[in-house]
Structure formats: C-alpha cells, structure tokens
Amino acid sequence: MSDANIKSDRCAAGQLLDSLYLNMFHLIEAHTQCRIDIERTNSDGAILLARTKFQQGGQSISTAQIPTENSAEFNALCRVINAADDDISIERHPVDKENGYVDPLYWFSVLPPMSLRNAVDKFKRTIELIAESTNLQRELNKVLNGIGRLRQSAAL
C-alpha cells in the first residue's frame, strides 16, 4: 500500500472517529437529561405515595402488601417489545383478572385515593422514560464499542 493510500485511510478513520465522538457527546447529553427526567417523575410519584401514607396510615403502602413467592402467579401489565430500528417500547396489557393481569392498585387499597391514582400515572410515565433511557444507553454502548474498535485498529 502506498504512502498516499495510508494517509488517506488514516484521514478517513480520523473523520469517522470525530463523528463517533460527536455522536457520543450528543448521546451522553440525552442520556443524562433522560435520567434527570426519570428522577423528577419518580420523585413526584414518591411524594404522592407519601401523601397517601399520611392519609391512610404508614403501613397502608408497604412491602406487606406486595406479593411474595407464596402469592398466586400473575402477569406483568407492561412489557418491553421491540419497535423499529432495534429500539424498544412499552406495551400495556389491559387488566384481565381471569387471565392473570391484575391491577396492582388494589393490592394497597380497596378504594384507592386520588393521590395513589395520581402516583400510578407518575410511575407509568417513569416506565416510558425507562424505555427511552434504555434505547439511548444501547445506542451509546454501540458508539463506545465503535470508538474502541477504531482506536485499536492499526490505522490509528
């Protein structure tokens, strides 16, 4: 391979590396913003849970109401499905007690107060953000692998 070709390959690899680094910084920014949003919605939900505890008593929302290994089996209401371009999204199943899709709201109260219902909305939003964050994290992982491979290549 001539010197001109080697120089040209190095130049192309350098440009590719630059674009990967730029992409990495954009993804880091989006990833961090998404985590901040997760923290915010999660905190909003936690405040509403605390309000429910204050109204209904400290033990009304606790691990005592959560199912254990000894409880009857049940299915998750929301699942991760593959969407376009290797991305994931959240799919929700309607409540269907006969087929094992139970509403977790009623584990904690027979007549759930408005604060608990509002908390559920916040946590559902958090789950949507989790899917968004997972997509960003996987993309960032791919970019980091690409940078690693390129840096190890003989051209650089």
């Binding site: 680094y21 089996e73 094992g100 559920v120 916040k122 994290q137």
Partner: protein, 124 residues
C-alpha cells in the same frame, strides 16, 4: 394454570428499596411466574450484599427479562458484577432512589464513555 403462554414481550425487573419497588409495581412491571419467581427484589437494611448480587445474577440469566432497574446506591455495592456485564441484553439501568439522587459520575456506561477521552479517570 397456563397464564404465561403466548405472552409477547419481555419484562422489566427491579432491585430497589421499598418505595422504588412499590412505585414500579404500581406502574405494572411486577410479575410472579409459574415457578413462583418474582421479577423484583425489595432491599432493606437487613439485606446482605450477597443476596443483592445473587438476585442480580439470577435476573441476568433469565431470558424473559430485557431491562434490570437497580437503585444506584445498591448498584455501587455490586459494581464489579455490573461492570462485568457488557452485553446489551438485559440492559442494566441505574436509577435514583428517594434518599440518593442520581450521580452521573457513578454510572457504569458514563464512566466508560468518560474513559474514551480521559483514560486516567478509569483508574480512580
């Protein structure tokens, strides 16, 4: 009872404190399968680090789990196991808890990204 037949999609699992688990279970991620294995673990002050580690490894082995959520404060306790997991599936997401806000400098993927342009930071 064949509740789990022909269910499409994968699960989100949670390892976290009481409020985190309650929150995500209210959101609808919780499941107990036919083998009576839950996809969540509530960590309290009496939970040993080995139990968290075992649970995390169990979730990694399950092929019906796509995302593992873990409070960052507990992720710190089993950092060596999390750093050793490099496969994109299941994705491990470190989330904040009520008492410990999210710290980007501790996040495994961001530490790796930082190492790409500042390798000294990785040895800290």
């Amino acid at each position: 009872m064949a509740l789990h037949s022909a269910i499409k999609g994968k699960l989100i699992s949670v390892i976290g404190d009481e409020d985190t688990c309650v929150g995500f279970l209210l959101g609808g991620v919780g499941e107990i399968n036919k083998n009576r294995h839950p996809n969540f673990m509530v960590v309290d002050k009496n939970t040993a680090v080995s139990e968290i580690e075992d649970c995390f490894k169990r979730f990694l082995k399950r092929d019906d789990i796509d995302i593992i959520l873990i409070n960052q404060t507990y992720a710190e306790l089993i950092r060596h196991v999390i750093d050793a997991h490099t496969s994109p599936v299941p994705a491990v997401l470190e989330i904040p808890s009520k008492d410990h806000p999210y710290d980007a400098s501790k996040d495994s993927i961001l530490r790796r990204a930082r190492g790409m342009f500042n390798p000294e930071d990785l040895v800290r």
